[in-house]
């Protein structure tokens, strides 16, 4: 029983990390095709937004987290207006611009807040099972990650906004001729993506060291998860994260984390090779059969 729970806890923890790392990027890169190398910095903004607003205004953590997310959305909107909107349809140029943004943001945080900011304590407590003890907040993260994914799936696959957004990004010309304000759809979608990265930053802020490079811890995981999820990210994210998480946890369990890290990267290479449409392609194919 304890053993089974341990497996669930370890695997779930890894799953939650991959999912939450990927959610913002799933919108910005998965849907909008912008290679956002500044994704990590969006997460940084969310984390600093949470911690700094919590400290300065003495807010309780959940409210500080909401603040963090709002700040990231505003940050995303500004960026969209100034830079990103000139990059739609030029996905490869987005590499340079977002790399530049990433340099500016992480270095600005260093200049403004110094090399490190006082961290927060992880909320909730811990519980025991046999000889093991667990952080309650970590269990919450697992549940929350899955919940937010269900919400996103609903938003982008079931609501009229979702259909509009997907259609517009798929074919902006037709949407435009049908009277859709393409620019607005792009802006809102980008802001949602930024906000989701902010959610990730806010949620992980109390569990990590608050440094200007905090977001960079997520960047590799986020890209590999989104890519293995495939063309329809909200369908493919959970199986992709589950598969990668399983590879990582089991290899780390039997060998060591370095090999676990290498294994997850190799798994991505093989998935792209043998499942070019990613997990969402696989699911949609089996569903249509």
């Amino acid at each position: 029983m304890v053993f089974l729970f341990n497996i669930f806890y370890q695997f779930g923890d890894s799953l939650a990390f991959l999912l939450l790392a990927a959610i913002g990027l799933a919108v910005i890169f998965g849907m909008m095709k912008i290679i956002n190398l500044a994704h990590g910095e969006f997460i940084t903004v969310g984390a600093y937004g949470t911690v700094v607003s919590g400290k300065v205004f003495n807010l309780p953590l959940p409210i500080a987290m909401v603040f963090g997310v709002i700040i990231t959305v505003i940050f995303g909107l500004i960026l969209e207006k100034l830079i990103i909107r000139y990059l739609y349809g030029r996905p490869l140029d987005s590499v340079v611009a977002t790399w530049g943004i990433s340099l500016i943001v992480s270095q600005s945080f260093l200049v403004i807040f110094g090399p490190s900011y006082e961290g927060l304590q992880t909320p909730m407590g811990n519980f025991k099972l046999g000889e093991f003890s667990y952080s309650e907040y970590r269990v919450f993260l697992i549940i929350f990650a899955l919940l937010i994914l269900v919400l996103l799936y609903y938003l982008f696959m079931k609501t009229s906004f979702g259909t509009l957004a997907r259609a517009t990004i798929e074919n902006p010309n037709i949407s435009s001729s049908m009277g859709v304000n393409v620019q607005n759809v792009y802006t809102v979608t980008f802001a949602i993506g930024a906000g989701l990265a902010g959610v990730t930053g806010a949620l992980y802020a109390p569990t990590m060291t608050i440094v200007p490079s905090i977001g960079q811890a997520f960047i590799v995981s986020s890209f590999i998860t989104v890519v293995t999820a495939g063309a329809s990210p909200f369908v493919g994210l959970v199986p992709a994260a589950a598969f990668l998480g399983m590879v990582q946890t089991s290899v780390t369990f039997f060998y060591k984390s370095t090999i676990g890290l290498i294994a997850i990267l190799c798994a991505v290479i093989l998935i792209i090779r043998y499942l070019p449409q990613g997990f969402s392609g696989l699911i949609l194919k089996t569903r249509s059969k």
């Binding site: 095709k33 290679i35 190398l37 830079i83 000139y86 990059l87 030029r90 996905p91 490869l92 140029d93 987005s94 590499v95 340079v96 611009a97 790399w99 530049g100 943004i101 990433s102 340099l103 500016i104 992480s106 270095q107 600005s108 260093l110 200049v111 960079q216 960047i219 590799v220 890209f223 590999i224 890519v227 370095t258 890290l261 290498i262 990267l265 190799c266 991505v268 290479i269 792209i272 090779r273 070019p276």
Partner: protein, 331 residues
């Protein structure tokens, strides 16, 4: 042929300046420019596959690192044998080329396209970095060469002919060697671009299927271009290792992997010469900013990159070059 050179007046003038430069500047600055030029080849390789064929690779650094480590391992193992520094360069380039072909085969014959190539190549370079970082222990040695993990390898000989007292470590010889190498490679790349394979490769960027239906072997063309790119990255790796007498896993990491992409895109990926010049310019700029800019150096660098993509989508150096040749008639 003559008209060809007429079109390249700008290039010829810049290279003439570079060829005469050692008369005017002292050894430190000369060495520094040699160092900047070390980085041009990896970027030129990327310009081949990305600029011509539309294949974005984040994996150039994998070949850079492989060649650097290959050169180090081979030359350290056969230290003292005549001409070791020369043939270990050749051997490590052969290894790099073979690795490039294997990766290219996997990619193009495996039906991997577009952004997926970027992710696969990124994963490859990160695997190499992660593995090399933890090779500090004595069990990670190839012959007498310890890989030495994160701290990096040292102790490789300088490229050159020891018996002739001709070394490539620094000074005018290194400068001219790298400069001439760059000129030869640039001319070869222009020739490649105009060759049949080059034209087919250019066409694959627009429409793979149509090119294929015309009876051209798309995969083979892409594989050739990718191998050329990996060799160019390898040349940079060896020159860099030789310059500093040092190679680390760091040079295959995420930041290193992104830099060539950024330099190529910001310079103008469609024009080899702009990439060559732009790469020198950006490496110089980031160094100069680090010297003078203090903690704002990185912010300024970021701003320059953002502004240049925002306003000069084809690359800032290519734009400047075109403006210049337009304005000044005799160019």
């Amino acid at each position: 042929m003559i008209s060809n050179y007429k079109k390249k007046k700008f290039e010829i003038i810049v290279f003439s300046i570079l060829l005469l430069l050692p008369i005017f500047i002292d050894s430190y600055y000369l060495d520094n420019i040699s160092y900047f030029m070390c980085w041009t080849f990896i970027s030129l390789g990327l310009a081949v596959i990305w600029g011509m064929g539309g294949i974005l690779s984040f994996g150039q650094t994998a070949f850079f690192g492989l060649a650097g480590y290959g050169f180090s391992v081979i030359s350290i193992n056969f230290l003292g044998i005549a001409g070791v520094s020369i043939w270990s360069v050749v051997l490590s380039l052969i290894i790099t080329g073979i690795f490039g072909m294997i990766v290219g085969y996997f990619l193009f014959y495996g039906g991997i396209y577009d952004v997926f190539i970027g992710i696969v190549t990124l994963a490859i370079t990160l695997v190499l970095e992660t593995f090399m970082q933890q090779t500090a222990g004595p069990e990670y040695a190839i012959g007498s060469a310890r890989l030495n993990g994160f701290n990096g390898m040292q102790g490789m000989p300088t490229i050159g002919f020891e018996s002739l007292q001709f070394g490539l470590l620094e000074g005018v010889t290194q400068y001219y060697f790298i400069l001439l190498l760059a000129i030869i490679i640039l001319i070869s790349l222009y020739k490649f671009k105009q060759s049949k394979i080059g034209l087919v490769f250019l066409a694959t960027k627009e429409d793979r299927e149509r090119v294929s239906s015309l009876g051209h072997n798309v995969q083979k063309t892409q594989l050739i271009a990718f191998t050329i790119a990996s060799l160019l990255a390898g040349i940079s790796g060896i020159l860099y290792t030789n310059w500093g007498g040092y190679i680390t896993p760091d040079s295959m990491g995420l930041v290193s992997a992104a830099l060539p992409v950024v330099y190529v895109a910001a310079s103008g990926k469609k024009d080899f010469f702009s990439v060559f010049l732009g790469c020198i310019f950006f490496v110089w700029l980031s160094q100069t900013l680090a010297i003078n800019g203090k903690q704002f150096a990185i912010i300024v660098m970021g701003l320059i990159l953002v502004i240049s993509t925002r306003f000069f989508p084809d690359g800032i150096i290519l734009m400047l070059k075109n403006k210049l040749t337009e304005k000044i008639k005799w160019l």
